[in-house]
Symmetry: D4
């Protein structure tokens, strides 16, 4: 009997790679309202679970544009590596040092674009025996054909494909740890869940 | 030469029909993140242009659920007609009186579900010679087949089909009326536009 | 001011054309679970509102197969015209007589396949100044291209395109006429609505 | 030569996880008519093959809502674990005990939402060397991107992906074991098959 | 009371415009197996109903390629106008003369590409008060956006949009005119119908 | 008998509205490679047929960005109206004067976004009795729902919906006017046609 | 260095499982024109390469219907196993004996429905160390979700997923073995290829 | 710890297989504008990184047509193997010799059609222990079902699935190696990126 590779909030860090205002205009495999919501949901859950989080950008002074301001605001004190040129964040020593400084072996990663900014550090981290959890719905790229190839490559190399809601649930383990906190996270990022909660609260208040 | 039937902020009112937390679970012709955003964008533009706005609900004490709280908060003083049973809001005298009390002849309407809560009052209002502008992307229903039939019926009866962005632009007429106000509205509800503005602002600040 | 052409339960009849077990295998513009549900929902609403209903089939002894048994069971006493060969039901004198015998001027029609069994009698009835309401989601055909052409033809000829839920709502007018009856109809044919009702009932029972 | 991991009706149990009236409003990767049909088909086949079946829910007193009533009615005597907070049902000792009490090593699982309520216990059960068969069409979640990631994760961990019809066929092995029983199951849940049977029966009766 | 504009086999001619082997590689709004089948079905029905049929091509010596051989074989004696340069076939005097020589006022038209080879002569013929029936599924073009615009333009100018199956049914009027002939036409071009007929014939032969 | 409203190269002008580098990131109802090609094809045909062409932009110093450089290069001497704030180009006196100065009554229009930058001047021009031809595939907007509403509104107001290829063909009338010129235009913008021409040329050269 | 598992016309047999006229009405993951063409293409290539072919059916006297006649006609002398009840053809001794009698170790398989009639014998044959090549486009089932699960299960068990065109090409190896034969096969089943050949032949004949 | 199989510009060659003008008309799993762009982007990056590139064609004198001229022009001195009949390029000794003569062990491959011209040499090269990187978006075939089967087969055999943009980024490693060169490559083949660069350049120039 062996356990499954299960996310553990005491052993996980979050890597947000190149969610920059210019690069986001390249993302077309997911609708913009949904993508924005997913990225912010991932950021909010990282903060909620108090996971060490690392921000990095590529050429933010050029057309790629600055980091999405909401991410900077959510993590004002996080390591922030503005890479001078390395395309694979893992080729940047500061980035790798920041990752290793967290002491965590589970990496939750998302970024733009999927097949480059997510796939390259994922493959590098797997090669160094990290467990890597790719948040597919907080990562975006040009089209579905590109995404499918990227996910196949990462999955075959040992990455686990997840989406933000599953990450939150696997980290939380038990609603009793904090019903209200998790409920608020879901209400803020899942309109259908917010509706359920509002219907329920209204009835309960009568 | 005749002018086109053009939205005029001095002659328009907004009708928000049955955006209730239970009914929203029926909406499947548009993704929930997008739909939520569109409805709130329409509310924000109504407030921005100071348009008289009327809220109505159907059976809000039952499974249909309460009005989406954000709408109530945006329009705390708006006429609010909780209909005791009429399916077509136009069959409710209070609702029609509230509409007529605005003194406006252009009605901007959205609701859930499209073929009932939007289509029925639209057809009734057209029959009374109002100009009706249906905001298709802030209205939702079961599936695309249902939506297409509803839009065909309303369009054939003389309604104009629009989406919230076009409504805002047609009302505003000229950016010079208020660049910052309209820009903020767009930035809050169009992630791609927000990115453009953030890229621009960052470059300008250098 | 003119009223809109609004369904009136005292002036409407329902025509169900060629919903036969063989012909149903031709329907591919709508999924089979959904289509079956829509056809039965239309039948149930016809019965609920006590609308005169007419059944007709084409060559039911051949490959087209018999009428779907549930329809026969729902309307055991309805006029049932097994046409000996006419493709357009309106070319069959018995059918037209049955329609006219109802004394109704509003015809709610659905059938298989849309561009033939629905469109032909619709166009014929419109030419004789009936008001025709096509229930698009209880009508099916080979593919979407075919459906779109058929709906365009009927809409241009004056038919109103609706779906079963809108028909039920327009006929009912006011929930207070019978909350439980309409609620049951919806619960039986709209899983999302059934869920809302079950959630509500459970909470209310506590 | 080795046999394939083949479902055996003497060695299989069914786990139905969190099919609750509130949570169902989150399911958008499959249409509601189809999903309801698939879930009930899985329930009916579990009963038909007399497989031990375990029901579990999460927070059924809150917004998640009660178990879908049809499931409770189909399995009035089944173990029913209303989990007090564990998100992964396998973290609930009563649930695991109920599973192990069946003495079966093949677990057929479905639930809402796929990447959490299905994937977590699937991964846990695989880690304890159960054979797990995921019924993908009786499991639902937010969207296709989420589903695809969840299925990839479970498949890579050794789960077998199936749909309810394949499960029924693999359990039955030979039509001669009971033609009428299996035929009825299919007729009740596959409109196209019901049509074939009705066409056939009509011709045979002549 | 007025009759509807109904296809009459004694008053209809068929125009097949530019179904050439090169141009067919441009068609991407419909799958090639389906498109080939639809074009040949239209040809077969034209022959079956003995409708005067006119073939025309554009630049068949260049990259556009020759007429699809099956069409030439089906109508060896039909007027065949290889246009020397006119893009709109109606600008070619021989073509218009051939049309007028049929003495028919109902024109059934299909071709490649829809917005040019079909739309231009359709609009010209409507302007000369022909009744025009566009066979949308035997006409093809670059993509759906192009097709939708073309169909909107023709429909607004008075053309009736149909598909080949509806054309055949409207021309035939009554199965009793020739059951076997029409059945064979359908069996040759509708796999689902062929299956129904084969199932039926097998059972009948027992 | 009346002629159809047919594009005439001696009576047509082209209006290119707000194809700006920032605004283009909003376009998601058409893929970017295809959209870029369509816009440049429209520009090339305007130049090829020597049609008076008018360029206009909205706020090009802000986030909307500059005019796509290729358009400026193709029409170095065209009237270029950088609007100071009017959203509807027709509200800008210089723009309307430029249009009227062409002396043409047929306006071929495309722009970004469809429901605003195209629809508003289209509706204004129709009200002044211009004939308006909307090039739908060289116009783009947020999503298909928005596009469909915009096209419905313009079509109902009398605009003719076309795509660039149909515009080119309707203007050219007869290949013999210039085979090589039109062939080159098509080869440059239709890969499938280019392939046909290359296959043909290769065979002819042997 | 190892060779890849490559189809060898001297070592391959074809299994066609349950392509019956009734069952075909269940196939909805692929359009009927295309599916019919693919199945017949696979049959034609089996005959062309002279591969031993085995036909089998399930309950052909009941609603499942008879074998598609074209298959029977193409292989009048092939082993034909009408199974009395076994759902997995590999559970039928006659079928397995027929397979083993061919002496081939490569099995090319297709059937209806994919997750049962194809997947079950595929998994059984793999367990007995045959190489199995699943022809996915000549196999059909209820919907894409079902197909995807079935293909995942077979692929994970070692089956190779192919489509009929790839099978033909891998068997043929070199066009010089018979240009005309292979060309005819392609021309009969690939309209685009037929068009290429017709364009070419026409030019060559000049 | 092991490194991942990462593209290295000093150890990679590019194989372009059968991008011929006739065969391209078969490609329907990707739109033609996009496909043309992707193929040319791959060619441009091969040239930019100075990778040894090998061209090959199949029967270019027949209906398959000549190599796309742009590829010949980009690589005037590349080995060019016009295969006399072998379908799998790896069965052609000249081709394999050309590959081996490059001395590279990483092969970047694309072609038409995916499941044959790409898959066969990919499987052969993997069997000889090359690392193979399939550029899925510069490879095309009949439809998505065919593509999916082909990619599954190659991925299972050890090929890495990529798209052209990822290939370029993985080869380049660091923007500082040549900002302008890579930027130009992206600007020429990614309209969204070109727009970002143009917006940026315009602002910078002020």
């Amino acid at each position: 009997m062996k356990d499954y590779a299960r996310l553990d909030k005491n052993n996980a860090a979050v890597l947000l790679v190149d969610h920059q205002t210019g690069l986001l205009s390249l993302v077309r495999d997911i609708q913009p309202d949904t993508f924005k919501n997913n990225v912010l949901a991932l950021a909010d859950l990282a903060k909620y679970f108090n996971l060490p989080t690392i921000l990095t950008t590529s050429f933010e002074d050029g057309p790629n544009g600055p980091l999405v301001p909401e991410l900077k605001e959510t993590f004002p004190d996080a390591p922030y590596i503005a890479r001078p040129g390395q395309i694979n964040a893992w080729d940047n020593e500061d980035f790798v040092n920041a990752v290793k400084a967290t002491g965590k072996k589970q990496l939750i990663i998302a970024g733009v674009v999927t097949e480059v900014c997510v796939a390259f550090p994922t493959l590098s981290a797997l090669a160094e025996e990290f467990e890597v959890f790719v948040v597919t719905d907080a990562s975006g790229t040009f089209n579905e054909m590109t995404r499918d190839a990227a996910l196949d490559r990462m999955s075959n190399a040992g990455a686990q494909l997840m989406t933000w809601f599953g990450v939150a649930c696997e980290l939380h383990r038990d609603w009793r740890n904090d019903i209200e906190g998790l409920g608020t996270l879901f209400s803020n990022h899942i309109p259908d869940y917010r509706n359920l909660m509002n219907s329920y609260a209204t009835l309960m208040s009568k």
